[in-house]
Symmetry: C2
Subunit: 427 residues, 2 copies
């Protein structure tokens, strides 16, 4: 397998100029000034004095905590410190990925502490908003832009995702763990079943899917509910995989995978479903998504959108938006309502599955680490570190309550044959 580094065009140690700082090798030898140490203390104070020791390039730890069990964060050169201070959200990820910052201890515990501190710190919230507004303007997702953004992430190679996703349905979205001890494979099937029950799928109905990943949900629906599914996706590699797999499993007469943008959905359907695509849509396109649903849903149609969200409007973490999900945005429920309100869709059910995503990510992270050597062979060590940070950062975000996962089930306003309770979902 050829090395594929296009995902992260990260600066290496010898490429300090990319990050615009001094030669890191040189700065390692230089003394840490009193002012630099004071800056680090100030940073720890803003973070409410977490149980962290910051070890600068002279080997001396700085801490504001009285705890005995400190996690050590090593900042290995002067340039790294100033990059971190200038835009922590963005540069921490890059610096960690290339090893100019190292966490000596439990990375996940460290990230959880940072998430909690950031949420609690009024100074950080202000700073984040100010800096975010200046630097992290959400990118537009034009038809062309979306394709670039999606290729960036999903065309990394099916072999890569196959290493750590569930084996049967390759679901790269939050699973559902009604029993937290169940396997990832069982929980991904439980998620798809949960979605189908909320939608009350009936044999012979037509379903349109916006963003289908490797086609797993379409196969599940076709196999277990005998529905006709038309699934849209702009990731070429995913579509090829999905078509091949449906054919192998004898489901291709029920499923059509269309390599196209959700905005080009045509036809008329009983059900609209979108699991894990809204994060890529961008809030400036929510009303247009509502128009697509309006165009393609029958008069008594119903639908479900499953997406990462927030308790309140907040920009994406800058590093995630830059390196992992370009064009991504995780909206609050209030923001999501832009999709539904203009065309008078009626929201029937919203469920928050936050802890289920933390659990899903723990499974992914464990499998990823079991295959870290293979991933390093496929890409390189920086890629492994970046991906490790992304997975652990996501666990931290969901488990501390920084991110949410919403399933929103909706209908047309005049759909009157609604179930009298949600008990049918749990039978």
């Amino acid at each position: 397998m050829s090395k594929n580094k296009s995902f992260l065009s990260l600066p290496t140690e010898g490429q300090g100029a990319v990050l615009g700082d001094n030669n890191p090798a040189q700065s390692k030898k230089s003394r840490v000034t009193t002012m630099e140490r004071a800056l680090v203390r100030r940073l720890l104070q803003i973070l409410n004095k977490p149980a962290i020791a910051i070890v600068l390039w002279d080997g001396e730890p700085v801490t504001e905590s009285t705890a005995t069990d400190l996690i050590r964060m090593e900042i290995r050169d002067r340039g790294a410190l100033y990059k971190l201070l200038s835009h922590p959200n963005l540069n921490f990820g890059d610096l960690y990925s290339i090893g100019r910052i190292e966490i000596d201890g439990d990375l996940l515990a460290f990230l959880k502490m940072i998430y909690v501190a950031a949420a609690d710190s009024k100074k950080i919230s202000f700073l984040k908003k100010y800096v975010s507004d200046l630097i992290n303007k959400p990118r537009t997702n034009s038809l062309r832009g979306s394709k670039d953004h999606i290729n960036h992430h999903y065309d990394l190679g099916n072999d890569f995702y196959d290493l750590w996703l569930d084996q049967e349905y390759l679901q790269y979205t939050c699973a559902y763990f009604p029993d937290p001890e169940m396997s990832l494979e069982a929980a991904q099937k439980a998620k798809m079943e949960h979605v189908c029950r909320k939608l009350q799928l009936k044999s012979g109905e037509t379903v349109v899917e916006a963003g289908c990943g490797w086609g797993g949900l379409a196969r599940y629906m076709a196999r277990h509910y005998n529905v006709q599914v038309r699934s849209y996706n702009i990731s070429h590699q995913q579509i090829l995989y999905a078509r091949e797999r449906a054919k192998q499993e004898g489901l291709d007469h029920l499923i059509e995978y269309v390599e196209d943008d959700y905005r080009n959905i045509s036809g008329s359907y009983d059900v609209f479903v979108s699991v894990g695509m809204l994060e890529h849509v961008g809030k400036q396109n929510f009303r247009e998504l509502g128009e697509v649903m309006h165009r393609c849903l029958k008069e008594d149609g119903r639908g479900l959108i499953h997406s990462i969200g927030r308790n309140k409007p907040q920009l994406m973490n800058a590093w995630i938006e830059k390196r992992i999900f370009p064009g991504g945005y995780t909206p609050s429920i209030g923001e999501m309502m832009d999709i539904f309100e203009y065309r008078n869709f009626s929201v029937q059910d919203v469920e928050n599955l936050r802890l289920h995503y933390a659990k899903t990510l723990e499974h992914w992270s464990q499998r990823f680490e079991e295959n870290a050597n293979t991933v390093e062979d496929m890409y390189d060590a920086h890629f492994v570190r970046a991906w490790r940070l992304y997975l652990n950062g996501s666990i931290a975000a969901f488990s501390t309550g920084t991110l949410q996962l919403f399933q929103i089930m909706f209908t047309r306003p005049r759909k009157h044959d609604l179930p009298w309770s949600r008990e049918h979902i749990y039978k």
Copy 2:
């Protein structure tokens, strides 16, 4: 029982000046002009030609429908026609209440037709928005204003509501019919049980309730879950009734009914609950309600708000706002998020119980009609007609999808011991 007409200060037939029009008795005798007949035709066209015949004061029906089974709407004098045309949302209710407009046939079927037509007509939506913005500015709900508004409706007399609400808990809010055939009494208990299960009440916990009506939910919670409840209400008559009833049932050691505004809630609680009060809060006060919740909920607290709502932002029906619920506003989910987002509350579950409210209102309407003579003795015939219109109009609004009923369950952001599924609600 003394006659109480303060609720509706409606103009009578002899008081045409109140509605600012000509003497209705005189206008009855005058000819209907060609222009007036054309105006009525235009009105029916705007309404998409419903199966309605409008009968003017000369006895001649006007219709645009080709249906054979027409509902007849009689406009009994010229002044009534012009009042209706000048502000239909507001004046239809008054004119119907005093008998200058009569519906000859099924009132509910007529109202449903009007609701559907109004929702579908682009001209009406535009007109409504324009007229609403000018005339129907939402009133502010200051501490004093709220008390006046609430007295207007809820201090009509406990005896009146006792005639047609469920007998055990006097719930003047949407019931829950997991089986649509169950009795109103059973469905109101099912509603309270549903709320308690969503909140996962545990024995010994503390609950604060914002707006408690006649105190039924507090009694249910204390009786079945052994929790300490503190319930706020600014309706004097309701508070007196609630205290007396809790004492009779030996629950007063667990419940404190406080005659005060929700904004004055003090103390610290495990659970916040508010069933059917948000409609009276007004959207300009949503953030302040969030502040109240923030102040009174413990760090791992949880809560539930149950309220009438909309698929999209829309002003109250002008007549309902003027005559029935002054200061009332029924928000969309997007608007409701103002309560939660600023203080980072985490919405866990939203359920839409629209059809349950239509069913509840059908029960109320039936009982009301069975007691119409008694109500007329207590008030007068206009009161009965106004109330009949309000109940049937509400059935029409919920059953056609103009109004929704949302239950929103939420927690503090760091509440991590959440159930792994909602199955516990259905056991």
